[in-house]
């Protein structure tokens, strides 16, 4: 509902909007600035900004001296793996529900969503015990499975709302033109479904990357992703602020970039198509 404003009001609203946005973003900005300071400069009181001594060493240190690359790789494997596995299972389901809906399809979708209402703590103990018996504790495979199941309802819902928008008439038209099933899938459906699948994938990689319950409960060291690593970074007491900030910056940067790319699709995905 954007409307024209007088120049003076426009200046005031612009200033106000920018101030609010900068305040909201400031903690991230401050963390990034801290990650480039020396440890002494990072904890100096009063806080240093222009007088700070800057360095790139924190990033090099974190990357070289801890097991950081392993945590990073674990995050990639778990987030991408659980998302791809979820897509493989969800695409046929969402497809069938969107194009061959039955009487119970709506109820089924609601039931799937309701599984998200189940508190994770309620299933934590059995899952831990089952995982212990199967030898899945502290394995990437175990986390891939759990995060896939956790996000499966969201993946199905998102895909369903995207598939729903592909007009059925297009299929009929293609069929009238003599397209076989294979041609139909390759030339008509796939190009139309791809954008929806891509945004579903992005959003779920973000959700899985940032997951911080199961990753903490089900891992110790071997399979721990970044979220578990940062959570257990022992109280630094001002000694490792710069390094902690560098580790944090590297942990959120990939997702921040992915997120900024996908922000147009984000609202729709996160509200299961209820707000577009």
């Amino acid at each position: 509902m954007a409307r024209a404003l007088s120049p003076r009001r426009k200046l005031i609203t612009t200033l106000a909007a920018w101030s609010v946005a900068l305040i909201i973003f400031f903690p991230v900005l401050w963390m990034i600035l801290t990650s480039f300071k020396t440890e002494a400069s990072a904890v100096a009181m009063p806080p240093q900004f222009l007088s700070a001594s800057w360095t790139l060493e924190n990033y090099a240190d974190v990357w070289a001296r801890s097991d950081y690359p392993r945590f990073f790789l674990n995050s990639v494997v778990i987030a991408v793996g659980s998302t791809l596995l979820g897509l493989v299972i969800a695409i046929p389901s969402a497809w069938a529900m969107a194009f061959v809906p039955g009487r119970k399809t709506k109820d089924l979708l609601m039931w799937m969503l309701s599984t998200k209402m189940m508190p994770a703590v309620a299933v934590m103990i059995p899952l831990y015990l089952i995982f212990q018996r199967l030898g899945l504790i502290d394995t990437k495979l175990g986390l891939v499975l759990v995060l896939m199941l956790m996000n499966l309802p969201i993946i199905i819902w998102m895909l369903y709302t995207y598939f729903k928008e592909i007009p059925g008439e297009i299929l009929e038209a293609a069929r009238m033109d003599g397209a076989g099933l294979w041609n139909e899938i390759v030339y008509v459906l796939t190009p139309m479904a791809l954008p929806g699948i891509a945004s579903t994938m992005l959003l779920n990689i973000i959700l899985a990357w940032n997951e911080a319950f199961w990753t903490i409960v089900l891992t110790t060291t071997k399979a721990a992703p970044l979220s578990a690593f940062i959570a257990s970074f022992s109280a630094p007491q001002g000694l490792f602020y710069a390094k902690l900030s560098a580790a944090s910056a590297m942990a959120i940067l990939p997702i921040l970039i992915l997120g900024w790319f996908s922000q147009k699709q984000l609202v729709r995905g996160l509200t299961f198509g209820a707000v577009k």
């Binding site: 903690p27 508190p119 703590v121 299933v123 209820a274």
Partner: protein, 290 residues
Amino acid sequence: MSTHSSRLAARMMVAPSVVLLLIWMIVPLAMTLYYSFRFYRLLSPDRTGWTGFTNYVWFFNSPDFWLALFNTLALVGGVLIITVVLGILIALLIDQPVKGQGFLRILVIAPFFVMPPVAASIWENLFMHPQNGLFAAVAQGFGAQPILFLEQYPMWSVIGIVSWEWLPFATLILLTALQSLSSEQIEAAEMDGASAFARFRYIVLPHMTRAITVVILIQTIFLLGIFGEIFTTTQGGPGSASTTLPYMIFKQAIAAKDIGRAAAGGIIAVILANIVAYFLMRGLGRNLDN
């Protein structure tokens, strides 16, 4: 399109998801229910057996439980109020034709992509820390004593951190809803002499009802399970001051190694989630019908 064979094929395609989600939901829940009536402590493996409702009674008799229940609801309610109210205000502001709106949106949405442990650790160390935090520096600048955020106001601090994480979500969704409002309606009301407040109250707010409902429903699902932020900052303390129900159950399982009690807590959490869901759907459900 729906011949008999295509229906069958459709069922086959839906089946894997349904079966997986059924197993994911029912098997652990049944096991949790079973353990909740058992004596099962990892530290005394010889003693086992049925204990009836003992584990549940322990919860209801524990002052910590009532505090945890209160904290859980305070966290959900507090974050909802803060994010919805501020979200509406910020959405109204950003919706104005300001310079660099695209970049503004990017700045505002950023906290949502910050994983909970990082968000918590930024606030805990760089801002709330009583010696090295930025807030302490500001307090000293005014000649005041630094506030011990996580020691004296642990629950408020956690609510603040979680609100910062979820404010972008609320803002973005409310902004999307706002942008679909036609400007003609507002201009017509303006010409009829409606005040800015009246325009907001009778045109803008009703238009956003559905989006607000969606924000509340979805945030509640996630807020009931908040864990990483508390684990990273206060560990539920000092004492039990910032222990929520999920964190209390986690402590029973991991620290006290009492599987029976933790399981009973898990069942109580399920019941609580259902009660909250019931009231939410009753109160808000009609907003979702088109």
